[in-house]
């Protein structure tokens, strides 16, 4: 159990850039180095983690933890995975707040904001490709999903114009999906 916690602590520390960056590191540690689960099970875990609510990194570590040592394993793995991030981001935020009056730190923070927005755009781009073309790679899109584009357009319109509550929005989209894809 301690080993599980330490492994995920390492995983959490080594991964910058969120869910999709964490997956290859988990794979390397858990499948190749420790041999806790097989490649096949790992692929299933990723699929399920994407389908279930919650951040991808948390889902994947929870699932791996359950497979190895049940619910206590899930808690050990998840806490290990998020601990470094929590500590570092809290300290970093305090640091920026404290030195905001320094011209250089302020400038760095501003550039980080712009860059991180660029990274968010990149994540949105991946999700849009997946939604419209069912693929996240650029080379194989021929059949665009027109219905998905319409759902997306309607949802965006409602959000911009009426500032609809996001959870209501998600539930609505889920229902529309059930209606049009069944």
């Amino acid at each position: 159990m301690f080993n599980l916690f330490m492994t995920f602590l390492k995983i959490g520390l080594c991964s910058i850039g969120g869910g999709y960056a964490i997956i290859p590191i988990i794979q390397q540690q858990v499948v190749l180095n420790q041999g806790w689960i097989s490649e096949k099970v790992f692929t299933d875990i990723i699929t399920i983690s994407q389908m279930t609510p919650g951040p991808l990194a948390v889902n994947t570590s929870t699932f791996v933890g359950i497979q190895i040592a049940g619910i206590p394993g899930a808690i050990a793995a998840t806490v290990g995975c998020i601990l470094c991030g929590i500590l570092i981001s809290t300290l970093l935020y305090e640091f920026f707040k404290k030195y905001k009056h320094s011209k250089y730190i302020f400038e760095i923070l501003k550039s980080l904001k712009a860059t991180s927005l660029g990274l968010i755009v990149s994540a949105a781009f991946t999700i849009l490709l997946l939604t419209f073309f069912g693929t996240s790679t650029l080379n194989s899109y021929i059949h665009g999903d027109l219905l998905a584009m319409m759902v997306f357009g309607a949802a965006l319109f409602l959000l911009r114009k009426y500032k609809v509550n996001p959870i209501l929005m998600m539930s609505l989209c889920g229902m529309v999906g059930l209606l049009i894809y069944m």
Partner: protein, 192 residues
């Protein structure tokens, strides 16, 4: 005191809710926090949310968790960190411990796949909506450099798969060099 407890309960409930409805990666948490913490409750500014998002992305681990922790810390201090942390990992642990026993059946279920496909379009709309709001703020800075960072980071990440850490480091470095050069030029003009 009563106010405080009421706020802690709200924080607990909102984190459980956000975590339960976050599909597909941590980025959806950013618009969720924008809607509930800023538009509904006015707890901090959009500017601060962008700072938090930048810090959450520059730190290791799950971006979604880092961000909810920062929002918790900002609004309720150390207790806020504890509440946000526990409440945002609880739903995935509970849901996955149920699903893990029959996950093959779950992943092959057509109804679930249809619902998820609809939700994916919703997630995309939420993120695009957020990007529009945030981009407006970058434009207001009226800085050519900052305006270039957004597409540059996007292209570097989406088309060239460049490591996120590297992108963040390079852009901070460029901005520091830029500021340094500006101050040198400024000083020279003073001398003239």
């Amino acid at each position: 005191m009563k106010e405080k407890i009421r706020f802690y309960l709200w924080l607990c409930y909102i984190n459980l809710f956000i975590s339960t409805f976050t599909f597909g990666g941590g980025y959806v948490v950013i618009p969720m926090i924008q809607k509930y913490f800023i538009e509904q409750k006015n707890l901090f500014s959009e500017e601060e949310l962008m700072e938090m998002a930048a810090v959450a992305q520059s730190s290791p681990g799950a971006i979604a968790i880092n961000l909810t922790i920062l929002a918790g810390k900002r609004t309720a201090g150390w207790i806020g960190i504890l509440i946000s942390g526990i409440c945002s990992i609880l739903p995935p642990i509970i849901i996955l411990s149920f699903i893990s026993t029959w996950y093959v059946a779950f992943s092959n279920n057509l109804y679930i796949a249809a619902i998820l496909k609809g939700m994916q379009a919703g997630v995309a709309a939420l993120i695009v909506d957020l990007i529009m709001d945030m981009y407006k703020m970058i434009l207001e800075e009226k800085s050519v450099l900052l305006n270039l960072f957004v597409p540059a980071a996007f292209i570097a990440n989406a088309f060239f798969n460049i490591n996120v850490m590297l992108i963040l480091l390079v852009s901070s470095f460029i901005s520091v060099v830029f500021l340094f050069m500006q101050s040198v030029v400024g000083r020279r003009q003073e001398h003239v």
